[in-house]
Symmetry: C2
Subunit: 466 residues, 2 copies
Amino acid sequence: MSVQGTILVLDGTSTNRIMLKVQLTAAWYHVVQGEKLQGLAGLLRRTKPDLVLTSQTLPDGSAADVKKLVLANPDLVDVPVVAIAPQNDKAARLKALSDGLDDVLAHPFKDTFLLARVRSLLRARAETQELQVENSSHPIGFAESSAAFISPAKTARVAILTQTPRTSALWQNALSKRTRYSLSAHTTSNLQAVLSGPLPDAIVFEVSAGPSGLKLLADLKSRSTTRHTVLVGVLEEENAHLASDALDRGADVICMGPFCADETVLRLESQIARKARLDQMRASLKQGLVESWVDPLTGLHNRRYAMRAIDQIARKAARSGKGFAIMLADLDHFKAINDRFGHTGGDMVLAEAATRMEQTLGSAGFIARIGGEEFMIGLSDTTQAKALDLAGNLCACIREKPFDLPDSAAPIPVTISIGLIAAQPNVSTYSHQSQRLDGLIKSADTALYAAKSAGRNQVRLLPSAA
Amino acid sequence: MSVQGTILVLDGTSTNRIMLKVQLTAAWYHVVQGEKLQGLAGLLRRTKPDLVLTSQTLPDGSAADVKKLVLANPDLVDVPVVAIAPQNDKAARLKALSDGLDDVLAHPFKDTFLLARVRSLLRARAETQELQVENSSHPIGFAESSAAFISPAKTARVAILTQTPRTSALWQNALSKRTRYSLSAHTTSNLQAVLSGPLPDAIVFEVSAGPSGLKLLADLKSRSTTRHTVLVGVLEEENAHLASDALDRGADVICMGPFCADETVLRLESQIARKARLDQMRASLKQGLVESWVDPLTGLHNRRYAMRAIDQIARKAARSGKGFAIMLADLDHFKAINDRFGHTGGDMVLAEAATRMEQTLGSAGFIARIGGEEFMIGLSDTTQAKALDLAGNLCACIREKPFDLPDSAAPIPVTISIGLIAAQPNVSTYSHQSQRLDGLIKSADTALYAAKSAGRNQVRLLPSAA
């Protein structure tokens, strides 16, 4: 991707290409050109455009074929493809939209509107790309599989926002005949009704010449609740300037000319699908982050979490001046359990032990599984006596009740050894902190070995020297 | 947080509070009120505002005290606090900005501008909050520590964009006396120069009455390279409408009135610090995602990655019609190594084994550490013969050269056992896929056990029945 953003212009007629190139280059975009479908896959691979503008018909295909080729390239799934159709050819416009094109621009172009549309499409592209980059640390094939994300048609909520109740009633009626959306109609003077009900997935709003209509757009884009809502602007009269203003303030797409329910529905469909995809990418990002701190087998936190949590506990102690404690716990003779009952049996013992210790610990601190049969427990705001007491309880909760295993006739006895270190708060600077923590964890490990050597099934304490 | 967004209005004089409340409620915001510093901490906790508008002076304190209290609440670190100062009191404005307030609004208010500013502050807040929510699956205390993120003063790049070269030279000169920023001056007719050089952290631009200045803003906000760049708009003449337009199109902040270098610098400083923080949150998010697929000890992928990668490999095989293979590899007698050389020695063996196997594997597939001394290897587009060959090489790369350990006089011999399953592509539906994969992994485990029982240090193959 070039720094300015790359736009691929596809047209069989060179004068058309050149005119577009001049306009777009003047607006500081990097323009590449193509004239037909043949060789397009390679051109897409080489130039990686951020946006494709293609004539509705090419010498050897159509805009719909271009869209298909773009979708077939995993890196370009989200690159918008816009068809260029003759002005006032409504049939061509609807055809292009129902073919899955991201927009249709009328030729000859209104300069202002063309550039505003390019800006808004690139803005949307950048947004998607940012989410994708964040997701790209994902294993192989994420981008590839992302095309499958478009969610099945659930009933989307669509709000209609117009100047007068008459218009909104008309629009609602026309849309209700063509969609299964859950529709609601409002006037712009009562945004409250939209904000306080169940939030819509999309808003179809009448863009009016007065400034209030445009402010409304900026308003919806600024609220945390509606900033990702699809905004479809409808201008009943052609007005390139007003349309550009609306796009620059965050409208996702503009329908110009007398309200056309068919066009509005097509645009709603593609925009709602796009939103569903972005929502899913956000959710997957979040899910990935949640999972990344969890041990899948036991549902406890994992080692990665434990290391950060211990660090936080030590910092908190330095601020509050209260003591903290670290425990390392290791199931005794776990290998024998594994050998006797197999991995499945061993896993069940781990999961059960995790559950018991988590319940015993309660909200006193955190517990994480940091290795095969090894756990770390961290306590903040504690004393040596309290920590020792808790460690004893953890030891007891494993010992006191033998574990049921499906492959074993009788429940099997299990025990755990715990090494404990109680530490004083320390005002060491953050740069020394990690060294100090390494030392503390090593001491807890030494205490654990002492517990093991002394016959297991017990707690050993090492008071902190540090 | 209320659906509409909550704004806290702080003023000792009730008429002032009520006037603001009327204006803001008419714009569908939820307004809460306070009159002094006393009790404010509790009020903040209870109401969790998205924005605080406070009189410059309160009966028992100042706007600066309010900002401090807001910063002290970990949940509200990013809530903007705006001081309200008498019109034309430039000293008060500079004081508030240098006290760390996020903006100063002049009283009496121009309605348009007040609401546009509220919108832009809430937009920024929503942006930050979204990043924070994404980061909040982080362990305890992330929000808490985020206040420490403000990066140390590195030399920020600031571009000046004005209508004429004369103005940009004047502004550059004035700013260069007050900052160590790396400054560059340009005219709006040559945005190219800004886009093609090293990208600026902030742009100070002259907001002009013509539409081109506003388009430029939307342009900068739409490009993936400049969408997060700080945009400070300067209006040399008071013009609330133009200022509102600029804010609604993405300006981060507006300086109104004759160019004031002191004010511009203060605004640049706080905005650049905010950007640094957001950048760091984005980086930490990305880093977290990268780490979440990596085994920290060996640097190989982790179990979580392996499970997803195997899934992807099986799907790819179903599409391509080519075979794939799964191996489970387990270091032999690893417990003995651990017992003899301690955890440190064991860890060194694991890391060295990982390096050797990774090099032997090359780009033929992935390798992950999925447990203590257990590894998973996945190969796509392969045959049984090829996979068997590679497994033999993996086995050999461990066996052929004894491992150097600092605590051991002589290098120690290490071996590994490998269970291999070669699978045919399968057109089973995705919902059956995970069951099938579980079966394949279990088979690889059975093969591994067979390799162990047969004396270790060898490969056992189980042809897939599935």
